[in-house]
């Protein structure tokens, strides 16, 4: 019976859902209560994931696997959920009658990501993916008084559904050829099917669903609109927890891609190259901060895929490690974005003007977060990219490494433009100081500290990611 204890995090999710649901039933202070419930529940999930770290169990006819890999991802998802809840705060920017509901749907999306981490079978994987996505389909349209938000919501829904259809079609092909939906059994079958284009095609289509979630070129079109159209907290969740989940599953599946022959790996390499280049180049011309972060996310997804195409344990470990770092640095960036535009409107670069005077702490947090995204030491972004590029170089993908390194330089340009607005340009409107609540201050210090400390002492976390990655098929 004790083996069921391995499902603690899932149980905690259920409890949290009930807590939030109860909070939503109340009449007054719904948002505050739901937020408190989400926060408590998030901590529960986090603690449960950490507690079940050492366990390895399989459930439900071996479709659901709990191991060090899945639990690490669950820790990350729980942390991302908590950070997003903190960023949502009072739900500014969301429709007023639907603010408390943010927490509920973020939780269901997190639940999808949690089960995604454990799914070792294609159908459960697909279902988890859908749960994670559908909750977001609900949240994005609930943006308050923002025309572009509707368009974003519609785009997200239509493109998202198309992606699921494609994924499902790919699934059917894979199942048809291999006769199984279990990843380990497919892995056994695949080498024999190397000459079978339809099987490879099916696998590619299945991967497309995940690449959509990660916003890798050519599946990135939704990202800028959704980042811009969703309210800050929701966008933060899409940009952090959701990304980590996608990276984790991609790490699981990319070994299949390698078994499927060189074409798939080559295709991934090309996607990585185009993602990095396109994301960074288009980010340069953005004025809307969230849109800029969206294109930067497209580029970042490209870097992650650079690590994954190495399809070595080192590469998966590097991708996972980078995913964890990305969670921290992007949360820091979104936190500042959300607080600078506390009224819920979308901040532009000009809104950052004079930030160093209005709130030195936020300016410093933004500085560190952007430098980390750019991959500049001593922040964690540098080691993260170093590991990714190192993995790619070990397999001889030197042109991806050179391209990635050059792209980092390009990205520095637009990150520095943002830093310039925060640190250099005077604030013409002479706005007053921008005070932070005690919790937000603590969060700023914690995230900045983590970004620097992990940049200098990456070993423990990387070793953790490495142990997890070695469990992958």
């Amino acid at each position: 019976m004790t083996r069921w204890f391995a499902l603690f995090p899932e149980a905690a999710l259920g409890v949290t859902a009930l807590l939030i649901f109860a909070a939503l039933m109340t009449d007054r202070h719904r948002t505050e209560r739901a937020r408190a419930a989400a926060f408590t529940g998030g901590l529960l999930v986090l603690a449960a994931s950490l507690l079940t770290m050492g366990r390895t169990e399989e459930f439900f006819w071996a479709t659901y696997r709990v191991d060090a890999f899945s639990q690490l991802v669950k820790v990350a998802v729980a942390a991302g959920f908590l950070l997003s809840v903190a960023i949502v705060k009072d739900g500014a920017g969301q429709r007023e009658d639907a603010r408390a509901e943010i927490f509920f749907f973020l939780l269901t999306s997190a639940a999808g990501l949690v089960s995604l981490a454990s799914a070792v079978e294609l159908v459960s994987l697909y279902l988890s993916l859908e749960i994670a996505s559908f909750s977001l389909f609900v949240l994005v349209p609930l943006r308050d008084r923002f025309e572009l938000g509707r368009e974003a919501a519609l785009k997200f829904l239509v493109v998202g559904l198309a992606a699921s259809a494609v994924t499902l079609f790919g699934l059917s092909l894979v199942v048809g050829f291999t006769g199984s939906t279990r990843i380990d059994q497919i892995a056994v079958q695949l080498p024999g099917l190397a000459g079978e284009p339809a099987a490879i095609f099916g696998l590619a289509l299945f991967l497309a669903g995940l690449l959509f979630k990660l916003a890798v070129f050519p599946f990135h079109f939704w990202a800028p609109d959704v980042y811009q159209g969703a309210s800050h907290g929701v966008a933060a969740f899409v940009a952090t927890a959701s990304k980590v989940g996608a990276i984790a599953v991609l790490a699981r599946l990319v070994s299949l891609a390698a078994l499927g022959g060189t074409q798939l790996v080559m295709a991934l390499a090309v996607m990585a190259a185009v993602s990095m280049t396109l994301g960074n180049l288009v980010a340069i011309v953005q004025r809307d901060l969230k849109r800029m972060l969206a294109y930067s996310a497209v580029a970042q997804a490209g870097y992650v895929v650079v690590g994954l195409v190495a399809y070595t344990p080192d590469g998966s470990a590097a991708a996972l490690f980078y995913g964890l770092l990305y969670l921290l640095m992007n949360s820091a960036a979104f936190l500042v974005v959300a607080r600078v535009a506390a009224d819920g409107a979308n901040p532009t670069l000009d809104d950052l003007r004079g930030l160093h005077r209005r709130s030195p702490l936020q300016a410093a947090t933004l500085l560190l977060a952007l430098f980390a995204l750019a991959g500049v030491p001593p922040t964690a972004g540098f080691v993260g990219k170093w590991f990714l590029f190192s993995a790619a170089m070990s397999q001889g993908w030197w042109f991806l490494v050179v391209l990635g390194a050059l792209n980092s330089t390009v990205s520095v340009y637009y990150y520095l433009v943002a830093v310039k607005h925060a640190y250099l340009l005077p604030d013409e409107r002479n706005r007053g100081p921008l005070p932070l609540s005690l919790a937000d201050r603590a969060l700023c210090y914690a995230l900045s500290g983590a970004v620097v400390v992990l940049g200098v002492f990456p070993t423990p976390l990387y070793a953790w990611a490495g142990r997890a990655a070695r469990l992958l098929p």
Binding site: H356, P360, F371, V376, P377, P378, F382, V383, W386, F387, F389, S390, M393, S394, W398, V401, V402, A405, L406, S408, T409, V412, Y413, L416, V419, K420, Y423, L424, P458, T459, Y462, A463, G466
Partner: protein, 487 residues
């Protein structure tokens, strides 16, 4: 010999200084300055101890510290000193301290300024002491980045443009270095970033020929290599005084040091194959920089282009691959660092008081501010290679080295030195003698306190000008073993 980790202590000086500055509230600028200056003094003291305890007769590295850092990647905390980096550590500590003193009058955003400047110095010290390729690149980028803010916030003439141009150029350099570093790691197959072990690894000839240009150009950009030097004058003109001092004085040496410490020992065949090409580029640097300096009207642009020219001498010395040339190159790195720092410190004072650096609007300065003018003139004479200052020996050695390997280039370089002399004399005569071209408000000559940092720099130039063997005794044994390893 004591076992105290002197190099880590040295690195801790600016790190603790940075921490101290960060925790001091911004409303106490005086305290922040004092924290900064004490970290500068502490660093200088530690370097002095290093210098005193350093034994040139011993082979290999001294004061070595070796600890595992990221075992999964063979990255270690590995520091050490030999005759090649000891002078550069000394240079950094001198320019760091004098730079803080020069900026004593700064009133705008004091806390942020000293914080970024100390961070930059952390990076520079790190590069000069580490023997691990990962940390080399790590510190290298740490040193590059604060530059953007330092120039963009506290700079002058076209500061935003200059800052962005400088940052992007230097990062393109690192974008070439990072893939090359990873290629060295996987190419050796030793699972280590330890430079001493990579230098002993055997790389195939074609690998060496392919990777060497990545490293040379990547590091060369920071050393002001023609035709990728354009960031340098623009950036130096835009930067505030102490940042110009640190940048032209110390940061450009990081590039040359990267070539000397990473590219040449690890890829000797590459160095030999590309030597004539790099020597030619370096000669273009010297000649082109000198000619362009001749045409400038802004004092800082003159210095900026003279730096391009002088860094060409360093690159040329490295390209000779013989003892005299490399000795000269290292000596030149040191003495050019001190000289340029003095240059920018002198111009900084003039600009602060007269708010112009235009030669056409100055003139007769030596009468109004004799001491401040003297500092500039001494720097200009050092730059022109006048005997009695340390650059003379450095340039002489590079010239002798070049004469042996590239006689034609050596003759061109000597011819170019006359142009160096010409632009130095031109600036001195036009700006400091004759009648003032425009009426300037009467300004006081430089005070005793502000002349202290400049006087220190002059003292160093004279010391090594008259007693060059103090420096050469340290450099020469290390160069000898490097040249043996290269052949």
């Amino acid at each position: 010999m004591s076992t105290a980790p002197l190099l880590t202590i040295l690195l801790a000086c600016p790190v603790l200084g940075l921490a101290g500055i960060l925790v001091t509230p911004a409303r106490f600028p005086g305290a922040i300055r004092r924290v900064a200056v004490s970290s500068g003094v502490a660093a200088l003291v530690v370097v002095a101890v290093l210098w005193a305890r350093f034994d040139p007769s011993l082979p290999g590295y001294q004061f070595v510290e070796l600890k595992r850092w990221i075992p999964a990647f063979g990255i270690s905390w590995h520091n050490g000193v030999d005759g090649l980096n000891l002078p550069l550590l000394a240079l950094t500590s001198i320019v760091y301290l004098t730079g803080i003193l020069v900026m004593w009058e700064l009133e705008v955003r004091v806390k942020e300024y000293f914080a970024f400047m100390t961070l930059l110095v952390v990076g520079v010290f790190g590069v000069f002491m580490t023997l691990d390729l990962f940390f080399f690149v790590f510190y290298y980028e740490v040193a590059v980045l604060p530059m953007y803010l330092l120039i963009a916030i506290w700079g002058s003439t076209r500061k935003e443009y200059g800052a962005m141009k400088l940052t992007l150029y230097l990062l393109v350099g690192t974008a070439l270095v990072v893939p090359a570093a990873l290629a060295l790691y996987w190419g050796a197959g030793l699972g280590t970033f330890d430079l001493t072990r990579l230098a002993a690894a055997h790389y195939g000839r074609s690998f060496q020929l392919l990777v060497y240009p990545f490293l040379f150009v990547g590091f060369g950009i920071l050393a002001g290599m023609w035709p990728l030097h354009t960031w340098s004058p623009v950036g130096h003109v835009a930067a505030p005084t102490a940042v110009s001092m640190l940048h032209a004085g110390v940061l450009m040496k990081l590039g040359a040091y990267g070539i000397l410490r990473v590219a040449m020992p690890v890829l000797p065949q590459g160095a030999h194959y590309w030597a004539s090409a790099t020597a030619t580029l370096a000669t273009v640097n010297i000649v082109y920089g000198a000619f362009v300096a001749l045409a400038q009207t802004d004092l800082k642009f003159v210095i900026g282009y003279s730096s391009v020219s002088h860094m060409g001498i360093v690159l040329l010395g490295l390209s000779t691959l013989n003892e005299a040339g490399i000795n000269g190159a290292v000596f030149q790195m040191f003495s050019h660092g001190i000289m340029t720092a003095l240059f920018f410190a002198a111009v900084g004072y003039i600009y602060d008081r007269l708010h112009t650096r235009d030669i056409g609007r100055l003139g007769g300065l030596s009468r109004a501010m004799p001491l401040a003018s003297a500092f500039f003139i001494i720097a200009a004479l050092t730059g022109a290679g006048v005997p009695g200052f340390s650059s003379f020996w450095a340039e002489l050695l590079v010239f002798l080295g070049t004469l042996r390997t590239f006689p034609v280039l050596a003759i061109i370089v000597v011819a170019a030195l006359t142009i160096t002399l010409a632009y130095s004399i031109r600036v001195i005569v036009l700006a400091f003698f004759g009648e003032p071209r425009e009426a300037h408000p009467h300004v006081a000559d430089i005070g005793l306190f502000l002349s202290l940092p400049r006087a220190i720099l002059v003292g160093v130039l004279l010391l090594f000008g008259f007693v060059p063997h103090l420096m050469l005794d340290v450099i020469a044994p290390a160069t000898r073993s490097l040249v043996q390893a290269l052949s």
